[in-house]
């Protein structure tokens, strides 16, 4: 084929062209073109726990998913609502402590603590962040960064909930299998759920608030209501991840308010592609295992880790997912009409 023909074909083959109408139903190939990336994601995530050698790496997968849920909540808040949140650690810590308290003080089983922690934690985080909602961009980021530090110091100073030791002896999930598949399933549900939600009419309001909050006010819609709803969704996800983390480690403590939980999701989002919602998951799949592999190098770990980040930012600043999606949409040899 000549270059010209190839070019013409490429123009016609955008995934948009296919999915915007009923074209996708034209043939099996068309449907496969749309469905395959999603199926690979679902299949890949579900098979990961089986493919991993040994208990240690299976545990790493759970941690990857926890970070991925956090990164997803960051990506949603930052690129669909316009609130740059550094509160990942706040969400994890709140969710973790709620699950820990419910389980060890009240004897609630993990199957109930996790959803309860998500809902109660979401409400608590939303109420605490409510006064900051008029802030935007970097100002919101600074305030949300303050919260996890604040919570950790309060627990330390008042010596509540086990103080610096944390709460020990929390029940774990009934088996490693349940643990991994529960977290993987939640992650997949959140990824596809959020993707679906941002395209509904209500999801558009979030985008509108990010674009232009004055115009949303002039449209007779309360922006505070929608911002708090978005914060509730994001913090609920974060708290669910925190609750899972508590049950995995069978312990909750102030190190759950560590800033790793705020920073790593952002790095993962940058690497994976911001605003794609799947990108953060991809970023976590790279960053967390790499950070585990580099454990052998001791403190040099940070150097390798930082070089990896810098490399990504320099050479693929758009993010893997954005790059991959563009290439996939240009993919030529799929279909012969």
């Amino acid at each position: 084929m000549t270059t010209q023909e190839l070019r013409k074909e490429r123009i016609d083959r955008g995934i948009k062209v296919r999915s915007d109408g009923l074209y996708a139903l034209m043939s099996w190939r068309e449907m496969a073109y749309l469905a395959l990336p999603r199926l690979i994601l679902i299949g890949g995530m579900l098979s990961l726990p089986l493919l991993m050698p040994g208990v240690y790496w299976q545990r790493v997968i759970s941690i990857v998913c926890i970070y991925a849920i956090l990164a997803l909540s960051f990506d949603f808040l930052a690129h669909y609502v316009g609130l740059v949140s550094l509160g990942g650690a706040f969400f994890i810590g709140t969710g973790g402590y709620i699950a820990g308290i419910l389980n060890s003080y009240f004897g609630v089983p993990p199957i109930l603590t996790v959803p309860l922690a998500a809902v109660i934690g979401g409400v608590v985080c939303t109420i605490l962040l409510f006064p900051c909602l008029p802030l935007k961009g970097v100002y919101f980021a600074i305030v949300t960064l303050m919260y996890p530090l604040f919570m950790a110091r309060i627990i330390e100073a008042f010596d509540i909930f086990g103080g610096t030791d944390g709460i020990l002896g929390i029940d774990s999930f009934s088996s490693a299998f349940v643990e991994q598949y529960f977290i993987v399933a939640m992650l997949l549900i959140f990824v596809f759920g959020i993707r679906r939600m941002v395209n509904t009419d209500m999801g558009l309001i979030f985008t509108a608030v990010m674009d232009n909050d004055q115009a949303v006010k002039a449209s007779g819609i309360s922006i505070t209501k929608y911002k708090s709803l978005a914060v509730f969704i994001a913090s609920g996800m974060g708290c669910l991840a925190g609750a899972c983390l508590t049950h995995i480690y069978m312990w909750t403590g102030i190190s759950q308010f560590a800033l790793d939980f705020s920073i790593l999701p952002i790095a993962a989002t940058v690497i994976g592609g911001s605003g794609t919602l799947v990108g953060p998951l991809l970023g976590c799949l790279i960053l967390v295992p790499v950070s585990e592999l580099l454990r052998d190098f001791g403190t040099l770990r940070i150097v390798f880790y930082a070089s990896l980040l810098v490399g990504f930012i320099l050479f693929k600043s758009e993010g893997l997912m954005v790059f991959g999606q563009r290439k996939y949409e240009q993919f030529e040899r799929w279909k012969g009409i």
């Binding site: 985008t207 674009d211 232009n212 004055q214 115009a215 006010k217 002039a218 449209s219 007779g220 819609i221």
Partner: protein, 261 residues
Amino acid sequence: MTQPILRMQNVSKVFGGVKALSDVTVDVFPGDVLGIIGPNGSGKTTIVNNITGFIKPTSGKIFFKDKDITGMAPHKIADMGVTRTFQVMRPYYSLPAYKNLVIPLFSPRAKRTGGWRGGGRLGDRATVAVDILEEIGFERDSNIPFKPTSSLPTGYLKRLELARCLSLKPEVIICDEVFSGLSMSEIASMVPLIERLHAEGITIVMIEHRLRELFQVANRVMVMNFGEKLIEGTSDEVMADAKVKEAYFGSEKIEEVMTYA
């Protein structure tokens, strides 16, 4: 005399040391087209911001149909049917044009009223949005309603501002310089649109610098200068007034100016 639909009573607004509005009182009656003119910085946009709740007046009261709306949140005022356009257009640039209207159509007021033409029933929001856009001058056959908002020219963006008001099924539209930045032909097509909205019973307050077009549609005109209301009346009365001439063209007596210099 009928009850005024909008009433500003001795409204003042002070920004730090600057008095942006002092003691402005004005009544807008149902079916009015009130024009507000005045030199730059005379407080015209501040009036709009005060009425629609985007800023709170320092003193004075604002009433909508006898209900005190002073200092209410902007979305609540919009919910009652007092809508505004922005002088600097504020569309959602990352959305296609028609999705800009899905947002106001999602508001509680649109759900109650069903949008501009809806009789209390709202269908599919995207369809309603395209219908409204067509009525306001977006050609349906073209793909303009579906284009990214960032690629639209100013004329369409101004119409989009109006369309946002219309999708709330407003009782009052306050237009903040809808003609500014438009070409002569675009203005010429905008005037009938305003007239049509007026004919449908929507009360309109227009802030404008383009006097010829404004006088075509407005039945009353108010002149502002340095935050004060100079005069209110028909266009002929206003243009004949000496104070207005002075505000716009400076003092008539050249000797007086020379003595100050």
